[in-house]
């Protein structure tokens, strides 16, 4: 079973040379720490920077230089700043190659819910609806079950949707899955996790074909 850093580490393997990548808040942010050094990529943050660098040293902190999670950051030499319209133009226009974001629920048809619990929690969708509405390549990073132990991989989402039929891959603490024919397909198991354990934690239909390999981390 993986921890958050393990999930990030596995997702980092999905990043290809030449990719522009948008990382959501939470686990996705950690992905930046695990991308191989020999891969050329750039991180986009939708508040208006391409070429985002690591967190600053204490003396370099700048209130005018933050990421979409409102964290202070740095800019690489190849960086550029731009307004929110052009930033979402990059997203809507499918110039960003890979979007990694968290979710409360994913359905087996690729629907995703991650912005609202009616009557309880309403933080807003931020840029998530734009991202999932346009991105060609969307990886969800999340725990396989919620705090109550209920599966987050469902037949249908119960929460208000963020986007429809858009998720391409899911990496959880238990497994790597993609979506085929409106079903989850198990691709890899987390170290030490059995297929049965994954089946039990997955409410949606799960395709298990042949031997399911363990992740290589």
């Amino acid at each position: 079973m993986l921890d958050k850093n393990g999930i990030a580490k596995r997702i980092a393997q999905e990043v290809q040379d030449g990719f522009y990548v948008n990382l959501g808040i939470g686990i996705p942010t950690l992905v930046a720490n695990y991308v191989r050094d020999d891969i050329e990529l750039e991180f986009q943050s939708e508040n208006g920077i391409l070429g985002m660098g690591p967190f600053p040293r204490e003396e370099d902190v700048d209130a005018d230089l933050i990421n979409a999670g409102k964290q202070t950051i740095t800019a690489l030499p190849s960086a550029s700043f731009f307004d929110s319209a052009l930033s979402f133009g990059m997203i809507r226009g499918q110039h960003v190659d890979l979007t990694i974001l968290g979710a409360m629920e994913v359905a087996q048809n690729g629907n995703i819910a991650n912005w609202k619990i009616p009557g309880k929690m309403v933080k807003g969708m931020g840029g998530a609806m734009d991202l999932v509405g346009s991105a060609k390549n969307i990886i969800v990073a999340m725990m396989h079950t919620n705090k109550a132990g209920d599966s987050k991989l469902l037949k249908t989402c119960s929460l208000p949707l963020t986007g429809v039929e858009c998720v391409t891959k899911i990496v959880t603490n238990l497994a790597v899955l993609d979506i085929v024919d409106k079903k989850f397909r198990l691709l890899e198991r987390a170290p030490g996790v059995s297929v049965e354990a994954i089946q039990q934690a997955t409410e949606g239909d799960l395709i298990v074909e042949g031997d399911i390999p363990e992740m290589k981390l």
Partner: protein, 231 residues
């Protein structure tokens, strides 16, 4: 040159009154028009609608107006940083229209550029699409979104000249340039007000034609929400 300078925030906000719709620049607390917000609190203008990506925090930014219950309705994309906001919204005291961030940006830009409506895939199949026209382009469904209508836009720039030409800094740019000229009156506060000719005409982010009033902000706190540094 057409001079856009006013002496201070008091002059800059002349004409505001209860019930108006305001646009406010900034993402989180970065690039917010701090001086204009302080003045809005001071004048205690009521029942206003605010178009702003976020709603500030409990004791800074738009949170200050929320605390005094000056805001009737918020049009935002993300409001998760503000406990008082959540309380007012869940209790029904505050009307809230949550819309995708890119759509928020583009609806400002549409108002600025005289585009009454456009199509976007963002929000299709969700609550956001309810009541909106859906149309397929290249086999993919999109929803129609309309330009915002606002009375005042409050914008924070880094440098500006007397002609109203503006430059923004880093990620404090965000929604600020898009709100210039997107309301009937655009008010800009700057950290540095300079003479015409001091800004390179090739690197002006927003030309003065989109600005009605510009003034030097008195002071800037520039609060940081998430101070993260290298370990």
């Amino acid at each position: 040159m057409i001079n856009k300078t006013v002496n201070n925030v008091t002059e800059a906000l002349e004409g505001i009154h209860d019930g108006m719709t305001f646009m406010l620049g900034g993402f989180g607390l970065s690039g917010i028009p701090e001086n204009c917000i302080q003045e809005l609190v001071k004048r205690n203008v009521k029942d206003v609608t605010c178009i702003s990506n976020n709603a500030g925090v409990d004791d800074f930014g738009l949170g200050l107006l929320l605390k005094k219950k000056q805001i009737k309705k918020m049009i935002s994309s993300y409001v998760g940083e503000n406990a008082e906001f959540e309380r007012q919204m869940l209790s029904g005291e505050l009307e809230v229209d949550l819309i995708p961030q890119g759509t928020l940006a583009e609806r400002c830009r549409a108002a600025q550029n005289g585009i009454p409506a456009f199509y976007t895939p963002a929000g299709y199949g969700t609550e956001v699409a309810e009541g909106k026209e859906v149309r397929d382009f290249d086999g993919k469904p999109h929803i129609m979104e309309e330009a915002f209508k606002a009375d005042f836009a409050f914008v924070k720039a880094w440098k500006g000249d007397e002609a109203g030409n503006l430059i923004f800094k880093g990620t404090a740019r965000n929604f600020n340039p898009l709100m210039c000229g997107a309301a009937k009156v655009t008010v800009v506060e700057v950290e540095q007000l300079v003479k015409p000719g001091e800004l390179d005409p090739n690197f002006i982010h927003i030309p003065g034609i989109f600005v009605q009033r510009i003034f030097q902000g008195e002071k800037y706190e520039k609060r940081i929400e998430q101070r993260t540094t290298q370990s």
